[in-house]
Symmetry: C2
Subunit: 452 residues, 2 copies
Amino acid sequence: MQKPSIPKGTRDFSPEEMAKRNYIFDTIREVYHLYGYQQIETPAMENLSTLMGKYGEEGDKLLFKILNSGDCFAGISPDELTEMSPTKFAAKACEKGLRYDLTVPFARYVTQHRGDLFFPFKRYQIQPVWRADRPQKGRYREFYQCDADVVGSDSLLNEVELVQIMDEVFRRFGIRVCIKMNNRKILTGIAEIIGAADKIVDITVAIDKLDKIGLDNVNAELRERGLSDEAIERLRPVILLGGTNREKISALKEILSASEVGLKGIEELEFILDKVEPLALRANLELDLTLARGLNYYTGAIFEVKALDVQIGSITGGGRYDNLTGVFGLQGVSGVGISFGADRIYDVLNQLDLYPQEASRTTQLLFVNFGSAETDYLLPIIAQIRAAGIRTELFPESGKLKKQMSYANVKRVPYVALVGATEMEAGLINLKEMSTGEQTQVSVDELIARLR
Amino acid sequence: MQKPSIPKGTRDFSPEEMAKRNYIFDTIREVYHLYGYQQIETPAMENLSTLMGKYGEEGDKLLFKILNSGDCFAGISPDELTEMSPTKFAAKACEKGLRYDLTVPFARYVTQHRGDLFFPFKRYQIQPVWRADRPQKGRYREFYQCDADVVGSDSLLNEVELVQIMDEVFRRFGIRVCIKMNNRKILTGIAEIIGAADKIVDITVAIDKLDKIGLDNVNAELRERGLSDEAIERLRPVILLGGTNREKISALKEILSASEVGLKGIEELEFILDKVEPLALRANLELDLTLARGLNYYTGAIFEVKALDVQIGSITGGGRYDNLTGVFGLQGVSGVGISFGADRIYDVLNQLDLYPQEASRTTQLLFVNFGSAETDYLLPIIAQIRAAGIRTELFPESGKLKKQMSYANVKRVPYVALVGATEMEAGLINLKEMSTGEQTQVSVDELIARLR
């Protein structure tokens, strides 16, 4: 018989991996709570009408679609069937799909339940999402997202708060990070002043290469991408922008002086910097004009977090999007949010060996099983120890001591208790500390006091 | 535009519902840890070859199948296509399905990772499952299961431990319960002695009706179901079995004296009772011969938990199954496990109003926003309060006080802090306790001491 397997791009998580993952989720969750975000959950399956058309044409193809149960051919004649494209067939034979991210289901949630919500609504959501992407190293078909969003408030204090949250989460993890910021309005302003509103993506991609290929090559690339010499000339001070955040901002104020929207973007950025600076964050905060994440999506602030000590893509991202729920018919609800990339954070914590010891909440104490009489004697004692909150096991079989000790070793149980005839008579427990091998005779109360 | 909705049989969970659900999951999780069970997770999608044929013909129909991405018609000629049944098509066009329970994925996990596991392996798993059942009150197409199983140990101490776990979980919830027990071997023994091995289900169904319809009607029903008069006569003492667990056991020993397997079942039951009785459980433990849950599945102990104060089906169930992984080619691995029904427990806790106050970990303190100067003053103070672990919000907009107070009310925030020009000058915080309306002037340190 063939050994069973799981679909490509999906993963099983072992107890050890789960302990680490829970440490990540619990840390993020705790910080979200500290800032007043409340958890919601949405179903794994959404109606395809909710999902389709929200992630672009490419995204539609990456949706996992669920075949209608019962007769999936219902309403399709044999003639139609043989002439149908797979895409068209899927549209007929599948009503439901697996969620692709947490943002669209959240927009659907806000629209559907608007009558029950009080705005501003601060929600977080930690759930898996599914994408039929080609699996590769670090890219999975099932992975968790950890999103927090505020909807129904235009205040930039929300952006400030999200910066604080990103800083606090990575401070708790012990990961040194740089929080990069940009503002979509500044990018729009730049496009305005160089007269190339449709070239924003080309421009950010080119700017991003300055360090690697130099100004001449960047300009050549911009020309290739269809920018006029005049536009390239106007872009020069933007590309060469350097210095501190404040220096960049004061230069941008000059450059964008003719663009109302550009100046508005600078004002927003300055507000966030003004509020955040007195808070003495641990993370570096850096204005980065090359930051454009899903440009069609964000309308104000754009955030991205990079780990300083590990070579890896961004480990958190987010920004402000006006009209989140407009696509579902609810107008005028602005939102701003962030999403922690749990899988990449997992890799970073592993590489830097930053998991705390307690991350695996394993058994603290294992009682060796010497047989029936000892078991009868021990069961009530073990119940008493558990009642004191100590995670305790009795090995279920009175087999070889070696196997029982191996069990303790494999599970990394720090204490093993040995109670045979002598100990029963004395009313004591022979307690072995596994790290040192040291054995001591203790009473039940002493054992509880020591392990609690 | 039509208001968006979710697929029938699925649910959104609001912050309030999530808080209650997390209380349930956290309680179960904590008790599982206390007994040394370790968490694993498996993917939502399994290969259909893993799932098909494991839940009977009816179960196969209830699997949600995922249409292959790319060309779902690949390898099917137009002629074949028009002649195909929907079932046959699904088998060709779908490689993956959503998991239907946690037991089969666990058996697949154990088989696949056997080289990395040390037995006995005690795992728990809390994840959603999906079934294309007809939705109705209390029955959903997506719901959570909370399973714990031990595999690789035949010891009945595992059964004892699971009884303790069920007792402890419901003690923590404050739900009074009866834990019903039976043993598949006893049922087999009964079938043996009356010479009707294939009538076990009919017999248990009939016995179950004794209280309602009386012995004569039960016998009539048994006759209808094809039992001989002789078999019915032999069954009489089983049907009329009453008294305490011990009385039932001693009567059963007589009745089943000629059945080796029946006596073995009684021995197993007695072992569990012997070990559990000195532990002074809170729950009633009751031998119930009508208990047959998924008879083809269990091979030894069978458990079921009923709430005493609410009319509802069983809220937890489980038992021992030999050869869990045999279907995947790994022989000789026995298992025993239980599964808490989170959705029913949710309903019971609601009906009995047993949720603790702290179940909703909401914001503890809201700062009213009076404007820009106050915000600049407060942001570092709020950071200090959060650093002390107090869940704190600053309302993001300096709008009407009434709206801000409503926000606190809706979110059930117990304390609101008001800091205007006077308080800023005095270096104090005007702290309002929402339940009493009482206001006091406190320093930051006093506030932290009071709320922590």
